[in-house]
């Protein structure tokens, strides 16, 4: 009888429920022995799951992120050992012991190495490259400038983060949220400020889903009725040779000037060349379907799993959420103002609304330009014109990331 009782107690003590009510010093946020941190994190993961499934916010990424977060925060699940990668989160010079990860790590620890070593974001970019049609940009290369202008939010949010007391490297990672590009933000953050990774990834993907709500008020406020009604001339047709040469030119030019952008731009353009060359149809099909899907699953669950109460439930997370929103808004403003400049320079040939599409969230931002334009004049079709700055924004944010990674080496 005693044996039965003992084994029952032993079993109960090994459950996660017992662990929640017996928080030790190792858990950061505990109240009267109850692990409040874990409970809040599980709650947040439920909210994110609702946003992904119920509201359809970037579900392909938010759902795996939220579920990874849930699994990692259920006590005793031991599915992810974030301490292998960031130590206790306070030492910026923490060296990862990969031997330990390989010997003792679980499923998510091993998958997370793909994030930590910067393998997943470039592979995702390869898929994006194979899915992207750069012809609106090739036929109207001026839109590259709009893609550059819309990186304004990146640098303003970076400066804002410094003002709020973040260090240089953290501020760079926060700023890159304004590039509106998930893989880029993840690549920069995992290199410069790994402890902020979950907060930044979640902020970046949530705001991308909110672009149709964030952008239109700014667009209406900054443009006049007349500007919004501008109809642009039809884009010229782009030859196959131009489409093939484009990725080769872009990769060469960008990587020569900003070598640190090589993994992102190189993969993006390789994927695009798979698509446009016409001789590697099978490879193109793989990178834009199977490969990108597999990597998205790995990336999502592991990034979510790094969100532990210790690293996530801090006032910094709230700052990141606010700065992320600021970054998105200012990027929109930057693109719009440059669009207005081009409107004046070209004598009213360019509709400034396509400027806001310079934030790289493809194709949402371009669709927003189309919608806002059509509200002014239902016969106006801006979508293809807006796709130019939109895909230029992808290149722009990758360049901005490269610039940050380069500066990080000099200043930090």
């Amino acid at each position: 009888m005693q044996l039965l009782l003992d084994s029952l107690i032993a079993f109960l003590q090994s459950t996660g429920i017992a662990k929640i009510f017996a928080a030790t010093e190792s858990t950061a946020i505990a109240l009267g022995g109850i692990d409040v941190g874990a409970i809040i994190m599980i709650g947040i993961s439920f909210v994110l799951l609702y946003l992904a499934i119920g509201k359809g916010f970037e579900p392909l990424l938010l759902l795996p992120i939220a579920f990874g977060m849930l699994l990692a925060n259920l006590p005793m699940s031991n599915i992810m050992h974030i301490e292998y990668f960031i130590g206790d989160g306070t030492d910026p010079n923490f060296q990862i012991n990969y031997g330990e990860v390989l010997h003792h790590g679980g499923l998510f620890d091993l998958l997370y190495m793909g994030v930590k070593l910067g393998i997943y974001p470039p592979l995702i970019f390869m898929g994006i490259g194979a899915m992207t049609d750069f012809s609106p940009l090739i036929s109207n290369p001026k839109s590259l400038l709009l893609g550059a202008a819309a990186q304004l939010g990146v640098f303003v949010a970076f400066f804002g983060a410094l003002l709020l007391g973040f260090n240089l490297l953290e501020a760079m990672s926060i700023g890159i949220i304004g590039g509106a590009d998930g893989p880029t933000a993840i690549l920069v953050t995992k290199t410069l400020a790994p402890t902020l990774l979950p907060a930044i990834a979640i902020a970046a993907y949530s705001y991308m889903a909110l672009i149709p709500i964030i952008q239109p008020p700014i667009m209406k406020a900054l443009t006049t009725k007349k500007e919004r009604a501008v109809k642009m001339t039809t884009l010229r047709e782009v030859s196959k040779t131009e489409k093939i040469v484009f990725p080769i030119i872009v990769a060469t030019v960008v990587i020569l000037i900003v070598p640190d952008a090589a993994p992102l731009i190189g993969s993006l353009m390789l994927g695009n060349l798979f698509k446009e060359s016409g001789v590697t149809e099978r490879l193109s099909k793989t990178v834009q379907n199977e490969l990108i899907n597999i990597i998205t699953i790995f990336l999502g669950v592991t990034v979510g799993a790094t969100a532990s109460a210790n690293t996530f439930l801090k006032k910094e997370t709230i700052f990141i959420i606010i700065l992320g929103l600021v970054a998105f808004c200012i990027s929109t403003v930057g693109g719009l103002l440059f669009g207005k400049l081009m409107y004046y320079v070209t004598g009213g040939k360019i509709n400034p609304l396509i400027g806001s599409a310079g934030v790289s969230a493809v194709p949402m931002a371009a669709r927003v330009s189309q919608t806002v334009g059509q509200k002014e004049d239902p016969t106006n079709f801006l979508l293809m014109h807006a796709m130019g700055p939109n895909v230029a924004g992808v290149i722009g944010s990758a360049v901005a990331a490269g610039v940050f990674l380069t500066f990080a080496k000099f200043f930090a």
């Binding site: 550059a148 990146v154 030859s239 149809e281 099978r282 360049v399």
Partner: protein
């Protein structure tokens, strides 16, 4: 703190400028290459494009009797691919055979996608 802020201001300014420089460089090269490549490819382009069958177009068709069956087949094919329309709404204006230059592997892959 002030030191970090002044560093930050420099990074932000130079960084934003650099993004412009890089993208402008691509713009410049694209403009140059446009002149170079479009001239060369014009002829190829004309041959490669199928004249799209014009639905509901009013046409004066001049066709030989032996071509009627072919036109009927083409009309049916266009109607089938457009879905929800009848062959009465279509008129084939002209047609031309387009040579295929894609290798056998690509064709197989395309068929896999279609089926």
């Amino acid at each position: 703190m002030e030191n970090i802020l002044s560093q930050g201001a420099v990074i932000a300014l130079v960084g934003y400028l650099l993004v412009f420089v890089v993208l402008s460089a691509i713009w410049g090269i694209l403009e140059l290459s446009k002149k170079f490549f479009t001239r060369k490819t014009d002829k190829v382009k004309e041959e490669a494009i199928t004249p799209p069958p014009a639905p509901k177009a009013e046409t004066k068709v001049e066709i030989g009797e032996d071509e009627e069956e072919l036109i009927a087949v083409l009309t049916a094919a266009v109607a089938a691919s457009l879905g929800r329309t009848s062959t009465y709404n279509l008129n084939i204006k002209s047609y031309r055979r387009v040579g295929s230059s894609s290798p056998a592997w690509n064709k197989i892959s395309r068929q896999e996608n279609l089926s």
